[in-house]
């Protein structure tokens, strides 16, 4: 079954296809042999620390500069040979949104619509559509230079989705926004799922796991992992946190005797009488009930038990350190 799936995956025509993309700036590789595919309607997160090569890859995808070697295709068309055709179907949000300060929101979006080739008759309705979609009604007539960072970012997204492009490339779309604005922008991007192909770069891990169906993790110009957020986090060992009222040394000793427990350690004591413990479980085993029974059987009180999900931070650090270990 797995092979059939794999075969279907290889036969289906991906929307974005990046093939051994490499970019050198002088002798230094910024992006080294990067390959990945994005299916139509998929939202893919492009994750990596600052300077990992995310922006470089994105700039090659929108045809800003050519790769040193390798190729990138959008809907089967090479992004360099067919740059103009590609750009008609692409919406791009750069990392620092460069807006013309001296223009008003509506006039600016009208200008972008005209440049993007929206026919004159549909221009106003198209501008109205993105203003509604990005919640810009209140700043319609304001100068872009006077808008808050959050609104500027939204205007940036609005210009990207003008003329309804099939592919959206968003470079750090939530950078510099306050938590409320971040949630709004995330919801907006999530709403594209299914009918727009989105590549979203970020160095904020929870954000990517929240929005994206698939994550490509890049470090020092190379892809270190590519999977769904769930499966990436699932590869890590599962941990259980406990709060138990009882003598620390005895509790630890007992926890270690429970079958399936790999390791147990004590954390800080929040109160005088109860201690916190972290238990590491073996791969694929769930020993929560065994632990609970064992504690209760010893006559101690179990105040709290919950599974610790490894965050993408943990995954990321693991992947990056594994990568360094291999070299």
């Amino acid at each position: 079954m797995h092979y059939v799936k794999r075969l279907l995956y290889l036969c289906s025509k991906p929307m974005i296809e990046v093939d051994h993309l490499t970019k050198y700036f002088g002798p230094v590789p910024a992006v080294l042999d990067v390959s990945f595919r994005v299916e139509e309607g998929e939202i893919v997160g492009f994750l990596g620390p600052n300077g990992a090569g995310k922006t470089t890859t994105i700039r090659m995808l929108n045809g800003f500069f050519p790769p040193t070697s390798g190729s990138a295709r959008i809907d089967g068309l090479d992004v360099f040979d067919r740059s103009l055709d590609i750009r008609k179907r692409l919406g791009y949000l750069p990392e620092h949104v460069p807006l013309y300060k001296e223009m008003r929101t509506e006039a600016y979006l009208g200008f972008v619509a005209e440049v993007k080739g929206v026919p004159a008759r549909q221009r106003q309705s198209e501008v109205d559509r993105v203003i509604d979609q990005c919640g810009l009604q209140s700043v319609r007539k304001k100068f872009l230079g006077n808008l808050s960072k959050g609104f500027q970012q939204r205007v940036g997204i609005a210009q990207a989705i003008l003329n309804d492009p099939d592919v959206l490339i968003l470079d750090e779309p939530t950078i510099g926004l306050d938590p409320k604005q971040i949630i709004e922008i995330r919801e907006l991007i999530k709403s594209f799922a299914g009918y727009k192909t989105v590549i979203l770069s970020s160095h904020i891990l929870p954000e990517v796991s929240m929005i994206c169906q698939r994550v490509v993790i890049i470090n020092e110009g190379r892809i270190v992992a590519e999977d769904t957020p769930e499966r990436l986090t699932g590869k890590d060992k599962r941990k259980v946190a406990l709060e138990v009222k009882g003598p620390e040394a005895e509790v630890l000793a007992r926890l270690r005797t429970v079958p399936g427990v790999v390791a147990a350690s004590a954390e800080a004591r929040p109160t005088d009488h109860a201690g916190r413990y972290v238990v590491e479980m073996g791969q694929g085993e769930d020993v929560r009930d065994a632990i609970a029974q064992s504690i209760v059987a010893a006559g101690w009180s179990l105040l709290e038990i919950h599974t610790l999900r490894p965050s993408l931070e943990d995954v990321f650090i693991r992947l990056v350190t594994e990568e360094q270990g291999r070299e």
């Binding site: 050198y24 700039r59 929108n62 045809g63 800003f64 500069f65 050519p66 040193t68 360099f80 740059s83 103009l84 055709d85 750009r87 008609k88 692409l90 791009y92 750069p94 620092h96 460069p98 807006l99 013309y100 001296e102 223009m103 006039a107 200008f111 972008v112 005209e114 440049v115 993007k116 080739g117 210009q159």
Partner: protein, 255 residues
């Protein structure tokens, strides 16, 4: 072509929504008005003296007022045009707006000619508003209309050359100051390069005086239309617009 109009409109909007256009045009008109006034006042003083002196002839309004006025207007243009062209690409390169612009389905040529045309419009408004000086002259002194027309033709052609050069310089730097300084220096160099004619030897000297912007303009302000001069300015424009195109496209092939 849609993108061309959109860019043209936006650039004009920027010129007029900021003080740039107003300040440059006003200063140009103030200075050229002052030069015109001085030349005209000097001419009227001389002509009063000439009337008292029998036999003193050979002064005319074309040589004494129109010719120096056009010459002075071209010098003011030399100072003002880099200020109009310096921001055209440098500003957008610095802010990153050029990267975003080139992610739209826009041809480099549309972008370039949109900006070129916008700057041309400002420039044409600038020299068109100086119509008052030849008009006043015409009311009081009835000069030949021919040299007025050729003078403006010369100013127009030279202005396009300044804009083409300024655009090219602006497309290779992110700093507007650097763009202004280089285009000012380059224009001045092209202007004065003919001076070397006297000591550069006969063959090299001829080439140098041929590429001098000043020598080319002299003919126009005297009322002479030489096709060589027109072709010179057209070539100058083509060369610098081509170089700007290459500089814009270079990011696509420069590994």
């Amino acid at each position: 072509m849609k993108a061309f109009y959109a860019i043209l409109k936006r650039e004009l909007y920027v010129y007029f929504s900021s003080p740039i256009a107003y300040v440059v045009v006003t200063i140009f008109l103030l200075l050229s008005g002052w030069f015109f006034y001085s030349a005209f006042a000097y001419f009227s003083m001389i002509s009063v003296q000439a009337m008292r002196m029998p036999g003193a002839g050979g002064i005319n309004v074309t040589d004494m007022v129109l010719y120096p006025t056009f010459g002075n207007m071209s010098v003011i243009m030399l100072l003002m045009m880099p200020l109009l062209t310096m921001r055209l690409f440098a500003e957008e390169k610095k802010s990153g707006a050029l990267e975003l612009m080139l992610s739209y389905p826009v041809r480099e040529a549309e972008l370039l000619f949109g900006k070129f045309t916008a700057c041309m419009v400002i420039f044409l408004i600038m020299i068109a508003l100086s119509w008052l000086y030849p008009f006043l002259l015409w009311v009081y002194a009835k000069p030949d209309i021919g040299p007025v027309i050729t003078g403006y033709l010369g100013l127009f052609l030279m202005g396009t050359a300044f804009i083409a050069l300024g655009l090219m310089v602006s497309s290779v730097t992110e700093s507007q100051i650097v763009a202004a300084a280089i285009s000012f220096g380059a224009i001045l160099m092209f202007w004065l390069i003919g001076w070397a004619e006297a000591f550069a030897g006969p063959s090299v000297g001829k080439v140098l005086s041929h590429i001098s912007l000043l020598e080319r303009f002299e003919n126009f302000s005297k009322g002479v239309i030489d096709t060589r001069d027109i072709i010179y300015y057209v070539n100058f424009n083509i060369l610098f617009l081509f170089m700007t195109m290459r500089s814009l496209e270079s990011k696509r092939w420069r590994g």
